[in-house]
């Protein structure tokens, strides 16, 4: 038994355990049961307006191959990404500044406290009037949706940094810059990624609603357009696509977060 063999055996054991793990199969069983019950309900003659899983399986490939389906993904993703990116930069910069300076915090915080409870969609009328294009309007709304959760989590993250780390850093002779880059920022990172994960979920919600209200393309518009043209399969496909897009975005955020904070295991 060489050590190498041991390692391989261990890795294999780990994989096979994962495959045998109940969690994986339970998840699959849940999804299969869901579609099965849905199908049975249709067979029993209930919920006739909604297409059955079998009809969906037949209709979706055709729907996907229609021109413009994948373009809708691109259009929505672009809006989500643009709004999210601007919100992340603004939220991090303003959050860090507020976290470092008590004075600025006292000045800015009350203003934000009033603006935060306004739902992003309540900004729609004003945004339509203000921004020259509907594209900018939609990006602006996703920005609003993502900005506050990011800002608040950056602030909370900086506040939560254990005071002993700051004190230790002081005794170790930290400059202002190092205190900031090597202590406060890494200390706040886990909380920042919590904020980013929440924010990316919200941007999808907002972009879909914004597209339904004022878009001419994108997954939200596609879903709404399917309703206007009485395409049941289109509606369900739109919803599924949105669900998958949101799930994939959260998953990417989680992976990025894990890579950026390797000490958290």
């Amino acid at each position: 038994m060489t050590p190498l063999w041991d390692t391989k055996w261990f890795l294999w054991e780990r994989w096979s355990r994962r495959l045998r793990s109940a969690v994986l199969w339970q998840g699959l069983a849940g999804i299969i049961t869901f579609f099965f019950v849905w199908q049975v309900a249709r067979w029993l003659g209930w919920m006739v307006i909604i297409p059955s899983p079998i009809e969906l399986a037949g209709g979706i490939p055709e729907e996907i191959s229609r021109t413009g389906y994948w373009q809708n993904w691109v259009d929505s993703s672009r809006r989500v990404f643009a709004g999210f990116a601007v919100a992340a930069v603004a939220g991090i910069v303003i959050g860090v500044v507020m976290g470092m300076s008590k004075g600025l915090r006292a000045t800015i915080f009350p203003l934000f406290e009033v603006m935060r409870p306004i739902p992003p969609l309540a900004w729609l009328p004003l945004a339509i009037l203000f921004w020259p294009s509907s594209e900018l309007t939609m990006i602006f709304l996703t920005f609003i949706g993502a900005f506050f959760p990011i800002l608040l989590n950056v602030l909370a993250g900086i506040d939560k940094v254990d005071p002993r780390y700051r004190l230790a850093a002081l005794s170790l002779g930290s400059s202002h810059g190092a205190m900031f880059r090597r202590v406060l920022i890494p200390g706040a990172l886990p909380s920042l990624f919590t904020g980013l994960a929440i924010a990316i979920g919200i941007t999808w919600e907002v972009v879909i609603a914004a597209e339904m209200a004022s878009g001419t393309n994108g997954l939200g518009y596609m879903t709404w357009d399917s309703y206007m043209t009485h395409s049941m399969i289109g509606i369900v496909l739109g919803m599924l696509s949105i669900g998958i897009a949101g799930m994939a975005s959260s998953w990417i955020m989680r992976v990025v977060g894990q890579v950026a904070t390797p000490w958290q295991r």
């Binding site: 230790a168 005794s171 170790l172 002779g173 090597r182 000490w263 958290q264 295991r265």
Partner: protein, 273 residues
């Protein structure tokens, strides 16, 4: 060994009639330290021994410059202490290694901040980590090593800055009995090599006597210095000394004092009466 010890002529810390009151208003005011006077001779390992909650960490914070005394003054080699500085370093009660840095980065952080070239700092950090028995672990994060290893890494992070005064606040608290004994031996070996003036805080009497050149025994709140006892056991120390008669006498004396104070800690009403 003894000659080496007398050559260290810095790190002499004087705590002079220091008092500390917490709380802003008169109602909230809590007198923690009433009148504490003692000194930490240069090159010595002075142990601060007192019941839990008597204000040992408070004293450490004051000497480190993290907080200011309400009364009295603290000097290090004659200069008043007013803010944190690189001449004093604290090893905290629970680990304060930066969780986001590897052990190597943690230990090399101090010297890099004070202007040493990175390569040189990492070289020395690596050697120090080997010296505390963490040779293969320098790329691990603190959360990936055991509690005892974290304590050693933190001692290395403190030693590398060559402070005038090291403040160790119950560094081995929370370790099991076995690791604690090993850590004490390990730490003494390091101390014999470096002879950095040290104030070591503990509430464990055996640990105190085993390590100390002199013992500063505190009362319970409001805290005063009860007694200072010199521990004339030779260095290097070993566990056989724990059964010597000198050790027994000192322990009897200290236990008598501590026992009364520990009782007060459980019954504060009586202490006030």
């Amino acid at each position: 060994m003894m000659t080496q010890r007398s050559t260290k002529s810095y790190g002499h810390c004087v705590v002079d009639a220091v008092g500390k009151v917490y709380g802003a208003t008169e109602d909230e005011a809590e007198i923690v330290l009433k009148d504490c006077t003692f000194d930490v001779p240069a090159g010595s390992l002075t142990v601060l021994l007192g019941p839990s909650g008597c204000g040992k960490s408070t004293l450490v914070n004051l000497i480190a410059g993290y907080d200011k005394p309400t009364l009295g003054r603290i000097t290090l080699d004659g200069a008043p202490v007013s803010a944190p500085g690189v001449d004093r370093i604290v090893v905290f009660q629970e680990t304060a290694l930066f969780p986001w840095m590897t052990l190597l980065d943690n230990v090399a952080y101090g010297p890099i901040q004070t202007g040493r070239p990175r390569r040189e700092a990492e070289q020395e950090a690596s050697e120090l980590l080997r010296a505390v028995g963490l040779a293969g672990f320098q790329d691990r994060y603190p959360s990936q090593i055991s509690g005892g290893m974290q304590r050693r890494a933190e001692v290395a992070r403190a030693l590398i800055t060559r402070p005038k005064l090291m403040l160790m606040d119950e560094p081995f608290r929370g370790l099991d009995h076995m690791s604690r004994g090993l850590m004490q031996e390990y730490y003494l070996k390091l101390f014999d090599e470096h002879r950095t003036t040290t104030l070591f805080v503990t509430s464990e009497i055996d640990e105190a006597i085993f390590l100390a050149d002199r013992l500063v025994i505190l009362s319970y709140k409001p805290t005063v210095v009860q007694t200072v006892i010199d521990v004339p056991l030779p260095r290097p120390r070993n566990f056989q000394m724990l059964t010597s008669s000198t050790y027994g006498q000192i322990k009897d004396q200290a236990l008598g004092l501590l026992y009364d104070e520990a009782l007060k800690a459980f019954d504060p009403g009586k202490a006030a009466a």
